[in-house]
Assembly symmetry: C2
Homo-oligomer: 340 residues x 2
DNA sequence: TCATGTTGTGAGACCGTTCCCACATCAAAT
DNA sequence: ATTTGATGTGGGAACGGTCTCACAACATGA
């Protein structure tokens, strides 16, 4: 049963104003009235109607998380899912509820959904269409982008230092003596993949062992399947090139490529070293475990929410962009020791 | 800017009743009025306030998904995340928004959150505390359980036929000639793990090659780490037992065990065959790829939502429980051919 | 001519809260 | 005795929609 404040007031023999005062604990209330009200609330298991409250307070304590995806599921995605998890956890701590939407095409529609529900703010994950952003901006609701690709002015954007990460990857492989490295570079329309490749390439040039165009393959998507099939297609070229290492711009591609190599009985890392980027949970679980550049997804999610909350309560927000430093994680696939 | 229906009415030179009629497309409206209103709406980019609408219609078009987790993240969980994905997709199709909460301890609190937000219904994933269920039942909101463990009366419960799956696993391994099988059985307090073991054990007894108590190990949790460490601890016993196959009650445990075996240079499947249960995405990606019993998570999620929607609109719902048939997926780890 | 039906409109109650304001006590201070 | 302030209470206007109802205009048919 759903009771109203009016019903509580009736049974406690007071006015609804008094009940409201007791619930919100502001203003004066006599001990007597307070206890009676509390008792009735307990008895009826009364749960205040958050909608009505939101109507008058103009604050829902709801936020929306909008995740763009092309075809595949996304909540279960090892990367975005992790960010989502961090958002859910930190939001719950501050008494927010979270609407989650995974979108494919009709993005304006799903942003409208959240907007009509009057969310206090939005977190946008991955690259969204420009018109979605405009739609949100136009409505004047605070929002934060995480790992997006659009560089819109004045938008708070949370990203990893991907270029720096690319450099770290190159540094790791060259320091192990690798000179002839094959690169699997995910969709270059995607900011992260583009910058990771850029950083990697620059470092190699700096080392005076620049990447030849023929040492870079471009899987059509940043998936395991594409990593696998790209490696398969490039197999003849790969062998003849005598590459001693592979760098992929994300873990899924790296793991896909690794799977194919293992099926060809290539020994990793003895014959070929493999490196990924992201450090998804499964990177440590594969055999051999995957050396990678860790992107701190939990921290990105947590910060995204924290910043959004500040925007919502109109506190001063210092920087307009937030960058996270990636970290080298050495594992078996480049000769590191096994999982502890 | 957030405009109200009143503002639209003013600018269109009609009453708010007329605007409401145009928006909801019910009742009579002159073409003239209709067009004028539509034009103003377009101009101001008016978005109706779903809260106000919900107040009067007593219907939010929001549902809540409550996922229980012990310690680890859950949206990114390869099993629950997948179910969640399916729910999100099918909910969006019917214009519902979805609140997602991943809970650890204080479950009553988070169910109260959803209830106060007046969700139209709830989907509960994994085993939740009894008092949470009572709390929800008491409030009278429709709900569906997915893969839970509680057998509450009259509750719609969506589960896989785990016992049958256990039998299929045993059938597969014995048909390959394995007689001496080692079992890694996840937490027996969890319905799924319990039934999977039960089905497996029954089949083996039926084959007159019953499982010895010493051939079953119980990892403390259904995680990769526990699979790995349990295998590590049982390593000496395992070798001396001359087991030719391993069955784990879920994929994560199986993959963890497999990782350890590979590190001991055990050849899979030649020396030891390994089987899991669930068919998480990564099962196909590991090397060797993992033979498993597929639980159709997408279908479970989709059905959960569909049933909930029926409950919400008070349509007749036939059965009170819904069971999904698991399917044997043969891959490399038991001698199947490699990933296609 | 008058009942009857169709089309179109706006006023206003209501959904369940919050919060402002008016007002009533009663004690302490002038 | 009267002002002042603290304490306590309830009435009622919002918040932004939906929906019922009354009513107006006009056509139709008996």
């Amino acid at each position: 049963m759903e009771y109203t404040i009016k019903e509580i007031a009736l049974r406690a023999g007071v006015s609804k104003s008094t009940v409201s005062r007791v619930i919100s604990d502001k203003g004066y209330t006599s001990l007597e009235a307070r206890e009676k009200v509390l008792q009735v609330i307990q008895e009826l298991k009364y749960k205040p109607n958050a909608l009505a409250r939101a109507m008058v307070s103009q604050r829902t304590y709801n936020i929306g998380v909008l995740i763009y995806r092309r075809h595949h599921p996304i909540a279960s995605h090892p990367f975005y899912g992790k960010i989502l998890d961090a958002i859910l956890t930190s939001a719950a701590r501050l008494n927010y509820s979270v609407f989650v939407t995974t979108d494919h095409e009709m993005s304006v529609r799903s942003s409208d959904f959240m907007l009509e529900k009057r969310v206090d703010g939005l977190i946008l994950i991955s690259r969204l269409q420009q018109n979605v952003i405009e739609n949100i901006q136009n409505f004047g609701v605070p929002y934060i982008m995480v790992n997006g690709s659009t560089d819109v002015d004045g938008v708070i954007h949370i990203v990893g230092r991907d270029e720096e990460g690319g450099r770290k990857a190159a540094d790791h492989l060259t320091s192990l003596g690798h000179r002839n490295i094959y690169v699997l570079a995910g969709p270059q329309t995607h900011r992260s993949h583009h910058l990771r490749l850029k950083g990697f390439r620059h470092y190699m040039e700096h080392q005076e062992t620049p990447l030849a165009a023929s040492s870079i393959a471009y899987p059509g998507a940043s998936t395991f399947e594409e990593g696998y099939s790209t490696m398969q297609k490039q197999w003849d070229h790969f062998r003849s090139g005598k590459y001693s290492a592979i760098f992929a711009t994300n873990d899924m591609i790296a793991l896909g490529a690794m799977k194919f190599l293992l099926e060809q009985s290539v020994r990793i890392p003895e014959q070929v070293a493999v490196m990924g980027f992201d450090d998804i949970d499964f990177a440590a679980m594969f055999s051999p475990s995957l050396t990678t550049i860790r992107v701190n997804m939990e921290e990105m999610g947590t910060q995204a929410f924290t910043m959004l909350d500040r925007l919502i309560r109109k506190e001063q927000v210092a920087e307009s962009n937030m960058e996270f430093e990636p970290e080298l994680i050495v594992r078996q696939s480049t000769g590191g020791k096994h999982l502890g």
